[in-house]
Symmetry: C2
Subunit: 110 residues, 2 copies
Amino acid sequence: MAKDKADLLQGTLDMLILKALSLGELHGYGIIQRIRQLSDEMLSVEQGSLYPALYRIEQKGWVSARWDVHDTGREAKFYKLTRVGRKQLETQEASWDRLVLAIAKVRQAV
Amino acid sequence: MAKDKADLLQGTLDMLILKALSLGELHGYGIIQRIRQLSDEMLSVEQGSLYPALYRIEQKGWVSARWDVHDTGREAKFYKLTRVGRKQLETQEASWDRLVLAIAKVRQAV
DNA sequence: TATCATGCCTACCATTTCTAGGTATCGTCA
DNA sequence: TGACGATACCTAGAAATGGTAGGCATGATA
């Protein structure tokens, strides 16, 4: 019940994934690490959330995927932002900003 | 599909309701109006979201309700923040701030 | 050799918001 | 007077999404 770790709000995961990929091609497991690292360990995405999300996002055409071997010699599925995905990231960031602003307004209320 | 009106992210509604009530006792319909007004029309809560949410929140003991007649002579169910609810509002605001901060960190990334 | 980190996946569950309906009262205006 | 919109409450069901919990495989390391 009591959880100290902040769960993601629904709707934020896509944006985080797209943002992580905007910094360069990356495989699934790496996306989790990049998000954790960039957020100073404040955000941790579960595998059970990530992989289905990646699937959805790929279906929507926001990312493209290919299997490849990376430095360590291991195989992994690399995801890359598409042009549409980059547009989508902008859209989602704008929505997020709007929401943050709107909620700030409500909270400013005397 | 394409929607210009910003939908709420799941998890933000409770905080908004509690915040609206922190400004004073209010009935359901009035909560919707207060949130819309405070957010400069940016947020609009649907009735089908609000009433179930109020029920949940009341079950959790964050608000108390009573039927009363208000100025206009109409009956309405008035909700009031409890002490626990006020605590909860603080908690949720802190969580929200943490999330906003964490996401800002990710987005700052070069 | 055992275990941990890396790497992928799925099934199912929990939660929350919205859509779409229903009901009733009150005031206004043609 | 009668129609309509605003006010005021409610519910059922759909849709979406993140988590839990499981499984599987490989490479590095102790």
